[in-house]
Amino acid sequence: MAVEGEKKTVLEMIQADGADEGCVTFVLHDEDHTLGNSVRYMIMKNVDVEFCGYTITHPSESKINFRIQTRGGIPATEPLRKGLNDLNDVCQHVLNTFQAKVNAFKEGQETSME
């Protein structure tokens, strides 16, 4: 079940024939440990996930094989979607907290200089 973009594929799904929807290997193009490890962490925190791991097939190719196996017949795209959404929310929270702290620090600096 290959998923095509216009010219460049971004995300592919590879499934063994006969296996249920819960065991899927995704191929993420143009990605490396930066996204791979952080998404893996978020997906591992999901109780429904039985197995989650990623490999970089060859260092010269910038793509990762991301495997998810779920328990209970849940389709594998669900924990992937939830993991990406959770990571997005984490980043949003980190950004908000950081912005607030930077503003507070700068205000503190200004008042101490006066």
């Binding site: 952080s38 109780v47 992937l80 990406l84 997005n88 980043c91 929270h93």
Partner: protein, 351 residues
Amino acid sequence: MAATMKNVEEIRTRVILEEFGVKNVHTTDFPGNYPGYDDTWDMQKFQKKFSIDIVNLDESSIEFDMVGIDAAIANAFRRILLAEVPTMAIEKVFIYNNTSIVQDEVLAHRLGLIPIKADPRLFEYRNAGEESSEEEGSEIDTIQLQLKIKCSRNPRASKDDSDPRELYLNHMVYSKDIKWVPIGNQADVFGDSSIGPVHDDILIAQLRPGQELDIIMHCVKGIGKDHAKFSPVATASYRLLPEITLLEPVEGEKAERLKGCFSQGVIDLEDVNGTKVAKVVNSRLDTCSREVLRHSDLKDVVKLGRVRDHFIYTVESTGILPPEILVMEAIKVLMAKCQRFLNELDSTDMD
């Protein structure tokens, strides 16, 4: 080692530094690993435990603490700061005349590494398509710079001078000699904030009378993954907060030696009933050299470790963007990556 309650807490929250290795490096708090612990992802729990503390902030560097996050995500921020926050840098160098002693390609390489003070968020990436017809580049994706300088003999120098600074004019080509040539409507958009190199005193080449440089340069937007010249940080790094525990009271001469094993300011000697007793005052200052483990009588007294989810970041900017903006851009890049795959998942689900 039996997994007692206290031990489990230690395995979950600390990285232990021993004499011949480091223990408990990997994150293990995933659901199902520890009976009695609910490690499922919970946004409320994360938000309660998470905090950021800015220690130092000035124009070129920031030092801040991030507490309550996992190493995978903290490392992702570091990797993005180094390699995926875009900046503008000189990419194409059109050499019309170079009679200096520096070879063309060496000169072009040096010019590429000069940090250019232009906000990359106001520019687009250059289309990777047909390059032949787009030699000029448009005003939204290219900055044009010019370096035109000629070295000549100083007519006012006295006859027996030997200092090159007296004898020659323009014999050292600095980055301040690079001038911005606005194309299209750039003069109106960027008129007040002039575009040019961040630092004025980068030495590019040396000339002697008769040699000249006549160069046009095009800057484009790029990321550090493509070429290190696009990296916006001098460096970005983090370390974990060290933790030093004294397992038994250390007194007298032993305490003096213990103090000497750590960085200055970590251990202080308190006066208790006439004897000096060692006390850990500020473990944050320690550089974790594990020197104390080299002394056979001191190594069983101390327990060295690091707090697993407390990251002390140091980000030093090259001057293109202020360091706090860099960190915020890095977080936005990670969000954009997630969004890209979420959109891809949604679009394929619709098919």
